[in-house]
Symmetry: C2
Subunit: 360 residues, 2 copies
């Protein structure tokens, strides 16, 4: 099979790899229908994180199960499945506490499982999935055995939205849930990448009354408005917070969703939160970002969030995707064949694309 | 009247001051029955915060109302009242949002009101109370007109517990509420000062199953146990967290209450919190304490708390004090006359006393 390998910063190649097979009885193998590039994939690509040796890459994919180990119960051959960005067993204490991202038996896509066996990356034609029962979510509408005839395949728009549930939509939703977004709430979203845009959609879905998207890019601001943003603020820093206050009738926001991960974006988020408000943060902290305790103390701001256990959110979000009430797949503004994965990275690195879907 | 004045670090004097009178129609005057010294009073005393000019000091007191302005409705002359550590109007947006500590019209005890008129400190014989209706809480059992005859006065133990509701007990309770303490929860309390001990009592009152007090002082550990701590851990750092994990059957705590405010105590708190757990923090952040976003992100820890709007908690806690089910006043291990306020500061500065009550 073909799969993307990162050899060094800036060096992504699609190469031949062994066809994956189940190794453990809890494994499944998924034939990938679509995968994509994440903002966090750009870290090794940009050299922000070291690339010690060539390894498979990618952690978001959907596809069809082609093989299962003897102990797999929840998914079957023929199932169309969504693989969350994080593998999890579903049974350890952290999983039972709802913090699947801290699973004690997790395997890492593109890295290895707890037994030391290598695990495929998502950007490829097929993936061995450890902890299949705890990780994969089947989509009955598109599941079935007997080859492709007789089984309904998702159209491209649906495929995009299903793929978005692997990570970005669930991550944006996590920010909104952690910040307590709900009916009547005023919300500020810091970050207009795929996660920030998803957070806008999540806030709208949860009934927020006002949603202020902080964006300086016309195309992203336009999608934010389509996703439910009532206002767009291009200003940053104190000016940005002043504009938020002005828009919200002299008050700062009840809920702020931080979807970037830099010191500046966290400061922007804190500046935009009202006393007693909540900050849901899902931006992967870059460069040792710290939160000033004094600001939290004085304003009684609650900070919640972190890496999203998107597996938990897939069932409810999937229902809305299939009902057509949300279309998170619209964050994919580019579609490329898997063979052009290197170009997908370039397009995202150069900000020519919000998010690229890869089709094997 | 007599009142404590801080002249410079280490220099507290009890001096004659003008007898306070209502200035604004929303003012009351309270004759102080008891006041006390707060850990945060030690900041200017130790020179951690500058003392630019002599000023009254102290922000925790209980006493009897001797005069009210024309617009005061909720308290009357003769009422025995608890004054929370923070003055608040009760009517602005932040107050209505439950964040009284961010009141837009607050006066500062020992500083001034929003009109620029000086406000007495709590460590004195009498205090002018701006925003009387939004600030003071009456205790009907000890209220009444007609001088001291015919009015029941609280005994010393009760007086201590009522005084504890001004700040430390409500602050410990805030930490517990913010961390979601409840039945079945495991709790770690970092800090064994008056607030930490109050947090233990609050956690017990809220039904926590396990309460681990981190303390190295035998007398404080003993009081922590009496307040409901099931375990005491003297170790710090990684050893302390390992001990917590060992005590809690291999798991870190659901809820951690940070009651110190230093970088070390915050680290200890984060180390002690399980993935997906909650950290309630009420330690006043000292020296630019920062919370590492990466740790919150990886462990999905929620951080909540800050300065406690103790005014909100007084009614429910008062009920338990009067019913005799909690005795937060036990944190006062020393009682001194107001004239010996300087010695009270020394005793707390030198850690000879957990907390000192001052009687005018």
């Amino acid at each position: 099979m073909r799969a993307a390998i990162i050899h060094a910063p800036g060096d992504i190649r699609v190469e031949d790899r062994p066809e994956p097979q189940p190794i453990h009885p809890t494994d499944a193998v998924v034939r990938v229908s679509a995968s994509c590039v994440c903002g966090s994939d750009l870290w090794p690509y940009r050299g922000v994180r070291p690339v010690d040796e060539p390894r498979p890459i990618g952690h978001e994919f959907v596809g069809r199960v082609t093989a299962v180990g003897d102990d797999v119960r929840e998914v079957a051959v023929g199932d169309f499945v969504i693989a969350p960005w994080k593998n999890s067993c579903g049974a350890c204490t952290n999983c039972r506490n709802g913090v699947l991202v801290a699973c004690e038996h997790a395997a890492g896509w593109g890295w290895s499982d707890e037994h030391g066996h290598p695990v495929d990356g998502g950007q490829g034609e097929a993936v061995r999935v450890p902890n299949a029962d705890g990780t994969l979510v089947s989509v009955p509408r598109f599941s079935g055995e007997g080859g492709e005839s007789g089984v309904r395949e998702p159209d491209e728009a649906t495929l995009k939205s299903l793929l978005a549930l692997s990570d970005v939509m669930g991550t944006g939703h996590h920010a909104a849930v952690c910040a307590g977004v709900g009916p009547g709430k005023s919300v500020v979203v810091v970050g207009d990448g795929a996660v920030g845009l998803s957070a806008v959609l999540a806030a709208k879905r949860l009934g927020a009354e006002r949603i202020v998207a902080m964006s300086r890019h016309e195309d992203r601001a336009a999608l934010a408005r389509e996703f439910g943003a009532t206002d767009v603020v291009p200003e940053r820093g104190a000016d940005g917070a002043a504009r938020v206050r002005e828009l919200l009738d002299g008050r700062l926001a009840d809920c702020v969703l931080e979807c970037v991960g830099t010191k500046e974006s966290m400061e922007q988020a804190l500046r935009s939160t009202r006393p007693g408000g909540a900050l849901g943060f899902v931006g992967v902290p870059a460069g040792g970002a710290e939160i000033p305790a004094g600001v939290l103390f004085a304003k009684n701001i609650t900070v919640s969030g972190g890496a999203a256990s998107t597996r938990l959110y897939i069932p409810e979000l999937l229902e809305d995707v299939l009902a057509g009430t949300i279309d998170p797949g619209r964050v994919f503004d580019t579609v490329l064949p898997l063979e052009e994965t290197a170009e997908a990275y370039r397009a995202m690195d150069e900000r020519r694309s919000i998010k690229v879907m890869l089709l094997p």
